[in-house]
Symmetry: T
Subunit: 142 residues, 12 copies
Amino acid sequence: MRVLVIHGPNLNLLGEREPAVYGTETLAQIDAQIAELAKNLHLDVRSVQHNSEGAIVDELHAARGAYETVIFNPGAYTHYAYAIADAISAIGIPVFEVHLSNIFAREEFRRKSVIAPVCAGTIGGFGVDSYLLALRAAAHKI
Amino acid sequence: MRVLVIHGPNLNLLGEREPAVYGTETLAQIDAQIAELAKNLHLDVRSVQHNSEGAIVDELHAARGAYETVIFNPGAYTHYAYAIADAISAIGIPVFEVHLSNIFAREEFRRKSVIAPVCAGTIGGFGVDSYLLALRAAAHKI
Amino acid sequence: MRVLVIHGPNLNLLGEREPAVYGTETLAQIDAQIAELAKNLHLDVRSVQHNSEGAIVDELHAARGAYETVIFNPGAYTHYAYAIADAISAIGIPVFEVHLSNIFAREEFRRKSVIAPVCAGTIGGFGVDSYLLALRAAAHKI
Amino acid sequence: MRVLVIHGPNLNLLGEREPAVYGTETLAQIDAQIAELAKNLHLDVRSVQHNSEGAIVDELHAARGAYETVIFNPGAYTHYAYAIADAISAIGIPVFEVHLSNIFAREEFRRKSVIAPVCAGTIGGFGVDSYLLALRAAAHKI
Amino acid sequence: MRVLVIHGPNLNLLGEREPAVYGTETLAQIDAQIAELAKNLHLDVRSVQHNSEGAIVDELHAARGAYETVIFNPGAYTHYAYAIADAISAIGIPVFEVHLSNIFAREEFRRKSVIAPVCAGTIGGFGVDSYLLALRAAAHKI
Amino acid sequence: MRVLVIHGPNLNLLGEREPAVYGTETLAQIDAQIAELAKNLHLDVRSVQHNSEGAIVDELHAARGAYETVIFNPGAYTHYAYAIADAISAIGIPVFEVHLSNIFAREEFRRKSVIAPVCAGTIGGFGVDSYLLALRAAAHKI
Amino acid sequence: MRVLVIHGPNLNLLGEREPAVYGTETLAQIDAQIAELAKNLHLDVRSVQHNSEGAIVDELHAARGAYETVIFNPGAYTHYAYAIADAISAIGIPVFEVHLSNIFAREEFRRKSVIAPVCAGTIGGFGVDSYLLALRAAAHKI
Amino acid sequence: MRVLVIHGPNLNLLGEREPAVYGTETLAQIDAQIAELAKNLHLDVRSVQHNSEGAIVDELHAARGAYETVIFNPGAYTHYAYAIADAISAIGIPVFEVHLSNIFAREEFRRKSVIAPVCAGTIGGFGVDSYLLALRAAAHKI
Amino acid sequence: MRVLVIHGPNLNLLGEREPAVYGTETLAQIDAQIAELAKNLHLDVRSVQHNSEGAIVDELHAARGAYETVIFNPGAYTHYAYAIADAISAIGIPVFEVHLSNIFAREEFRRKSVIAPVCAGTIGGFGVDSYLLALRAAAHKI
Amino acid sequence: MRVLVIHGPNLNLLGEREPAVYGTETLAQIDAQIAELAKNLHLDVRSVQHNSEGAIVDELHAARGAYETVIFNPGAYTHYAYAIADAISAIGIPVFEVHLSNIFAREEFRRKSVIAPVCAGTIGGFGVDSYLLALRAAAHKI
Amino acid sequence: MRVLVIHGPNLNLLGEREPAVYGTETLAQIDAQIAELAKNLHLDVRSVQHNSEGAIVDELHAARGAYETVIFNPGAYTHYAYAIADAISAIGIPVFEVHLSNIFAREEFRRKSVIAPVCAGTIGGFGVDSYLLALRAAAHKI
Amino acid sequence: MRVLVIHGPNLNLLGEREPAVYGTETLAQIDAQIAELAKNLHLDVRSVQHNSEGAIVDELHAARGAYETVIFNPGAYTHYAYAIADAISAIGIPVFEVHLSNIFAREEFRRKSVIAPVCAGTIGGFGVDSYLLALRAAAHKI
């Protein structure tokens, strides 16, 4: 099974950005953990990071025929990027929404996800484990 | 008269994406129909598609001096892309908003257009005919 | 194909009423243009105008079996006349909502249409051309 | 006891209109059932149907001195016709609001009744039985 | 100066309807007081009453060229009848909105007037004097 | 046919609690009337009363296989007890919501029912007759 | 009869302040017209102007026993000054709210009056005539 | 590590209740899967189910000192049970909120969780895997 | 005078739960202070604590005839438990709402009390003194 | 301990103003009761009354260094006077908000206090006892 | 050029009041810095401070003819004082709104300014520099 | 000190776009003024313009370590681009939000800034001076 991991906007700064909220691990370290678990689960994983809504739409489109599952941390696009939501609906691949932090325990605007309604499932609040749990969820679908 | 047709996000997947909502014609087939009618109406038409809000803003800016009318299907950007709305206000060319589906008969969030207030007119719900009617509307302005 | 055109409340004053918003053509002149295009498109058209919500409901009911398409400018009833919306749902004939002006560029209350969700399509902002485009849309359905 | 049954807008299409929602019985068949039960309950019943808000106001006014109870299915006027609500307040006769379908299980806008606050009671969701139950409620008041 | 007085829905029941709110005078008695003051002010007054929104729209249309001022008690149409508001905008005659009761001291829904924004002025809460004051206001315009 | 009548919170105080709103009959007297009519209609009825949301959920669960219809007065749980609404959806038995008073003529918060959307029908405002009418509605389903 | 006229905040600038909205007459000229009409109506009138909410509360308190009617233009306090509204409730003298302009045809925030619910009546949109009509309304109460 | 699994209201009907939404597995089958994975992960797990808000509060209180992690499917209490939320805050044990279905893709009222803000993390939409993923998340904390 | 003190949900954890918000005293210590003051004031006091909404409703019902005053800390039920509010209305005993913390200085959802409108008075923010002040208020009523 | 009692707008009319809501005692009588209890509690009390928001801000500022506690009945300023709220935050003295009536059982607008979030505690609904309880609360802080 | 600086409510406590939010400089120190920069910019500056809304209205009125620019820190009046907003509209002098803190990063209610729409410009978040920047903006207008 | 100036979407059209709102200066002319003042203030300034949200996020990321202050005119992204707001939070450099026009005096949607809460300060309404004042604010921080 091929799995695409998409890290949304600002996640390239992980480890440097607000460690109290997002932890001290860098994106490279997270991707390493993802790669390691994927290997154990016999999953074929590729990780990408984009700051642009359009680029994420493009990436999701390109996933058709190339991946069976997408694990997606939409970052702040969670709250307003309907174009990404439409892309998820359009591609017909199960997408799992993940968040490092518990978005429901933060600012009011973070409590609404326009992405969640078109995802297969959502996992949030477990730090890097949110990605790893999503990977396990994907593996279980095989 | 020169007419620019801008297809917004996810429209490149037409024919493959949710055919129950958007029909089975591909974007190439739609562009072919547009080109054919344009020829009959003696209009000079160019069609482009963009998934990025910024790219659409750029395209609209470039239309100044090059086109007399823009036909624009903003897709999901309809509902929140004020930067595109500002671009339409800025360029001083009449823009016609078109939608394949009747956005008022769908999810609640699709009923609000931030683009419509700055457009010259809107046409929605007629499938590919929405574009063709907009083309006729443009032709009538000559 | 038989097409019924229903002009809603206050449209009998067209040409006299707020020409800056609605133009200087009278309803008779608009109906003449509709008739002319209908002739060219080999459509059988009848135009009526009503100020009363109940009369519009009656007219829609009577259209069953007599017309294949209805072109309807609901005027101010656009924004609250659920009885008309129910009539449209009930009669099983495609109804095209048209507006002379771009209702999205006007007062806040004009941005909500209770009629649009039950219509096949909507066209607005093109002046009398809104009707003519709807006529073409109807013709295409033959 | 004299009872007036008022069928509101679009109910004349019953049996033909959206049978999945409103059932397959015609208004004549419903009125026949009402008449039969009324006879059994020794009630003097008259049934009318109106599509116009003004006509319903007139009918309610005329009921004063002529009927002891009104059974009223306001149809879509349920949701906005304050003039009818004022008429009910004004005439001083108990009015029972009935609905064929369960309006609370349908579109959001159908969940608000401006008529209910001025009625003596409401019955909804039982198909034609909604009327018959209201008739029994009226009979009990003798 | 010719003045048209339009009494809106349910006002024909005045004197009989909720006297605690609307007083004990009948509409005929009110019209008599209006006629008497009009005579003193050398105004030419005609009074009409309508329960139907469409009829009020028609009446307003007919006022063009026939009256210089309209005094209008919209009753419950105050709160939602945008078709009447559009008619007032369309006819280009100053319309004075009057109410017998103070609508701001009653139910929440009565605090919003869709008519007031298109009227020249509003008077409410003075019982029949609301009409008489409006008549004086009209006279002053001569 | 077996019918379960569930009286919700505070209904055990009937006859003593706010008689101006709820009448002077005690719950025992109401149950006696229900029993008598049930006998006439050849229905097998059991009545229970619970003040706890969880107990009502349990009671509804237990009704599966034991009753064909449930008549339910949810009292104040009407307005927020989604767990009860889910139980009604889950058990697959038609539930009729009844209210002694007209909840639409009372405080604002009483106008919203989270129970109604999952019920087969609703009856309110007829005092104890609300229950008796529901019983007749149940009988008719045999 | 003694009548107190209270001009609210900023009205001391009348004639100089936004004449397109408020006219070109000064407050002194308005007070002169008020005085003249009062004389004709045999009313004893005193006019004051205050910019401070507390001063208006004090003035209203002092009116007890000294005046039978208050004519009050609350200016911008119309929209939020609940302390003034409480003062009006407290003093037990009929207060007539007047406005020079039609506040319903202006900014959204001006459409809400916290003063109106506790006033006997309201008059707005007639320029200085708003005051004169209120004076006549007061005279009629003798 | 000791883990408490709390199944909220109506989950005892799993497998029988709306299988299109919640799947065909019974709660016993789910608990068996949980027990099996717990064994593999060397976790000490106990599962309970409650329909009453108060009982869930009690259960959470009792968890103090007895469990290191709580996995909690709050069912419909997700949306309004602030007493449960307060209990979670009070006990100082990490609580993981799980849902079988994707609550964001269902009715509007299910999109708001009053429980999520006080939980350590949330997992939803993966059917029984939601529980199993939460178990793994708990294991990882050792 | 007999006074019933009802401690609502989660208050059994006092002293252990979020001491920064609720203080370090245990419920037993608070009850001891209440008992001591009651003795001084010659009041007959009983204290109970419940986590279940239904149990609180039962307790309030049982208070009829047994107590002259109820002092009630509704905890999180403050914000949504209309069944408890109805119970308070039903029993006809003055109920004093108390809160340890100042609920208006905390989360948004805590600022709305559905209990307060049916209570005789409210005291909040004084820690255990909130109870003691309520006791004094009760004593004063003798 | 020195305590400042501030009576807000309109409270100078106590005993004369709406006795059904506020009781028949005058402010002087209330101040006498406050003085008497203060003497018993060995508190040094001064009472003032102001109708102006600015005067209350000044009074609060002046309290710094002169009083250890402020007891404040903000009257209608409760609902919007953020300048007073800021003054309370600024002075660093505990302020107790008191109300004679239960503001939660009155008009909707009275249910929101902008003052409460910055107060140490609130007491309402006990008539003059609200002040006396606040005095006791102050005394307890010594 | 003559510039009037108006410090709004509670600013007289600067340096003493919540230094974490407002800094440690006193108003006198701020005025000294303003005076010094004004001298350098050849501006004629006067600074005043008022706690009363009415006093600020008076001060603004008096500025007509005496000052060419007003620099105004409205403090808490920012959020509701429409009377001040009207005064600014009325006097026809450019007013610059300044805030020491970034009001958008604080409580929700501080994010709405009723003053800003009638000001020429706004500066906030720079501490005392907010005033100095406004002074430079004023100077540039010469 | 190094300062980065980011001009947001559509600002490249300055001087050509809606001069009534945005003035007649081109972006190049504005950048020239910025450069000149920067030279005087001994600041090292670079100006960039982007129409894409993602590009602005990238630019902000790249500013880390390269600039001490960012001056940012977010254009229409002001109102919804949470990804940009997160980028500002992430980079730990003070960002000053500037606007040419007074966004509070324009359309309703422009009054909400999702950027302001994470900025150090905001300046708006002074035309090109908004940038120059921000430059001075930056200089002052040295």
